[in-house]
């Protein structure tokens, strides 16, 4: 029967090419617009580190004074940690691995006549950073805890920067001049750019290229290197002292916790640490303010999706809804116009179910055509988004799941739109219509 219904549907659609075209166009445009925006949302909220994200947690303390108020649309000062707190958490060593970090942008002086100095983005971190995030070394290795303690002038380069500076040669053991100091290269890592860069400060670009250098946080503090991120102070801190001040937050901190027991123990540890700091008079707020976020929870908390993207998604869904209303009205008109034909089939013994299925297949056929058109429209939409200047723009690509989702959504939407008209049409009273024929 399915083949026969398909044939009937095809014939019926061919009879009214303009109306059919309009319906396919409407569903194609509606689906295309919606899928464009859904894809953008999907890539922006995707898991940046599949397989590893479930073990990564970021602890948050609340060292702010009681009367501290957040200013307007400024960043939340307790999003980051102060230097003393980060160092205490690091030394306590309660997680399998843990690292404190901050972003930086430094001038590279290549020491070659054919290359002018240029700026690169990178990270100041502590020893566990590489192993905790599962980064893979092309050459050499990271640095050890002793280097952290000594503020050693060592650096791990990203693959791209290493190639730019040293060509194909092995960079390990060579010296790189970053800012006004020399650093010895201990390793080269493959370019690593999780999207979003979950571990970076919330106020800087989050969908950007891979970090190209990594050097010990202690060295960065010794040298007072520039930090790419937000310094929030609530004491009288000067530029000279703010990095190690107990009243300035600027550091990010991540910990690897492998079991639920470890997670619970770490939560307890954070509460205890806060209580202890409160007893010492450093913290004023309740220890319950200390929180431990999982990676995906943290991203949700930070709400990285810009309002414009959400608005556009709503707009696209509203548009899809208008298109669907339109199709319902047109299908209703089309099906009821065929009351005569339906009555004949009913009189010849077709049940209401049969009519319903037949008309449902016709709607689904429109959906398949609309879905195909929708895919084209969505590809066009995503292409236009990739031309935009926003930092997330380069991510706007469809994966297999979204591709399939587009077709499914299109068929679902059109079958849904066909339900009411098909139901109305199969309730046509055959006798009444046949009299007129």
């Amino acid at each position: 029967m399915f083949g026969y219904y398909l044939d009937l549907a095809w014939r019926s659609l061919k009879r009214t090419p303009i109306l059919t075209g309009l319906m396919v166009l409407a569903i194609g445009l509606g689906i295309g617009a919606s899928m464009t925006m859904l894809t953008v949302l999907h890539v922006m909220t995707d898991d940046p580190l599949p397989g590893r994200s479930a073990q990564l947690y970021t602890p948050h303390l609340d060292p702010l004074p009681l009367d501290h108020k957040r200013r307007g649309d400024g960043p939340d000062a307790s999003d980051n940690l102060t230097w003393p707190d980060a160092m205490a958490l690091l030394k306590a060593h309660r997680a399998t691995r843990q690292a404190a970090m901050a972003g930086g942008s430094l001038l590279v002086r290549p020491g070659r006549t054919d290359l002018r100095p240029f700026y690169v983005d990178g990270r100041y971190a502590t020893a566990d950073f590489f192993a905790m995030f599962g980064m893979s070394f092309e050459h050499g290795s990271g640095w050890g805890a002793a280097d952290d303690a000594a503020g050693a002038r060592v650096v791990v380069l990203g693959e791209t920067l290493a190639r730019k500076l040293f060509g194909g040669a092995d960079a390990v053991g060579r010296t790189v001049r970053l800012g006004d100091s020399d650093f010895r290269v201990t390793g080269v890592v493959a370019d690593w750019a999780p999207q979003p860069m979950f571990y970076a400060d919330a106020s800087v670009k989050r969908y950007s290229d891979a970090d190209q250098f990594f050097l010990p946080l202690s060295a960065a503090v010794d040298l007072k290197l520039d930090v790419n991120g937000n310094f929030s102070s609530w004491g009288q801190d000067h530029a000279e002292t703010r990095m190690t001040s107990p009243t300035t937050t600027w550091l990010q901190f991540w910990a690897q916790l492998d079991t639920p027991m470890q997670v619970a123990a770490y939560r307890q540890y954070l509460a205890d640490y806060s209580a202890q700091q409160k007893a010492l008079g450093r913290f004023q707020r309740p220890p319950a303010n200390a929180k431990l976020y999982g990676l995906m929870d943290w991203l949700a908390h930070e709400n990285l999706v810009p309002n414009d993207v959400r608005l556009q998604l709503w707009l696209a869904l509203g548009f899809l809804f208008v298109c669907m209303l339109n199709i319902v009205a047109l299908l209703l008109a089309k099906f009821l116009r065929r009351s005569g034909e339906i009555s004949v089939r009913r009189a010849l013994g077709a049940g209401r179910r049969d009519i319903f299925v037949q008309l449902g297949i016709e709607s689904a056929l429109i959906g398949v055509a609309g879905g195909a058109l929708g895919l084209l429209v969505a590809q066009l939409g995503l292409w236009s988004i990739r031309q935009r200047p926003d930092d997330y723009a380069h991510l706007a690509q469809m994966d297999g799941a979204m591709l399939l989702g587009t077709l499914v959504l299109a068929v679902l939407a059109s079958v849904l739109a066909g339900l009411l008209p098909a139901w109305r049409a199969c309730r046509v009273a055959p006798a009444l219509q046949l009299k007129g024929v």
Binding site: R71, L107, L311, G318, L325
Partner: protein, 409 residues
Amino acid sequence: MEIRPILASLRKHRIPTVLIVLEIALTCAVLCNAVFMIGQRVAAIRLPNAIDERNLSMVTLGGTDEKTSGSDIPRNLAALRGIPGVQSAAVVSTLPLSHNNWGWSFGTRPDASTFDKKTVNFSLFFLGEGAEQALGLRLLEGRFFNADDYAGSSFGSAPLPETHVTLVTRSVAERLWPGQSALGKTYYSMPHYYTVVGVVADVLRPNIGSQGEDWSYYSAFFPLSAGGSKGNLRRYVLHSAPGDRGRVMRAAEQKLAALNPNGVTKGMLYTDMRDQYFADMRSMAWMLVLVCAVMLAVTAFGIVGLTSFWVGQRRRQIGIRRAVGASRGHIMQYFQTENFLLSGAGVVLGMALAYGINLYLMRHYETASMPWYYLPVSAVALWALGQLAVLGPALRAAAVPPVVATRSV
């Protein structure tokens, strides 16, 4: 025109009637809000900015040693002034819409500190000598900085410069001293204080945010000597005829690179920077325009499709009406009135919906309140669209000959 028979007929086709009314309502609601959002973005993109935007190009010099960067400034400027076509050149800390913001909060009472809630946050612009002319600031009251002001200003260990003179924009003057002249008045942030020597026309902040138009103009200017600039003066601004800008900028980039082999230079036209600042707003506005256009088209086609179907269904009745004396005009009028009623119901519902959507957006997306006139304007637009869409099918209905009535289908 009798509307009772129309209502009776619509009542018989309840489902399609409700659907088309809903479609028009939804289109009206989305259209209202989308057009409002487009308007807001266009207004932002066009915000006036009282500097000579079309004459400015700039080169940023980074990476030079903080200790010598101050003493290099006079040498760099002399070289830049030597470029043919340069009318004036100066160095500044930041520029409007450059994203490089240095904000600080000040109050009008001597005990004001940055942590007071009553203080007002400004963006600080530090100017090297001659920057007022190079930027083309427009003086409304008072005077620009003089040579003594420049010589006497430097950075010490504090985050604010050691000077006591300032220029403010008209918006700052009105915010701090409403209804009074700002000249000679002083604003404070313990332990610093600055006295206003001049008021200039509104200059945009490096980041304009979303706190309203006045807020976007809270800018204040301070003199800074080259020697005491501590690496804070890194943007060289060049004033030239609009046609010379590109050439001047490239020449300046080369000169600065040659003079500062360790530095990083980056040149840009001011108008390009402004375009970049608003690029995402512009693309959002175009996207909204596109969606509005497509949605109106889809709605119009929906009306065409449905009315065509009704015309086809009623050929016989139309024939009978024509046979008993109705003119073509009467038939046309019937369908036009029907559409008028449908659109009317749609836009009434749509206006309510539009208002509701605006309330929701205001609560969740920091959207401003939509002025009331957007509602009737988009209602009229949809009404007109409906009449336009129904014209084709109505003409076809009017063309039905009376003889149809005599045929037994």
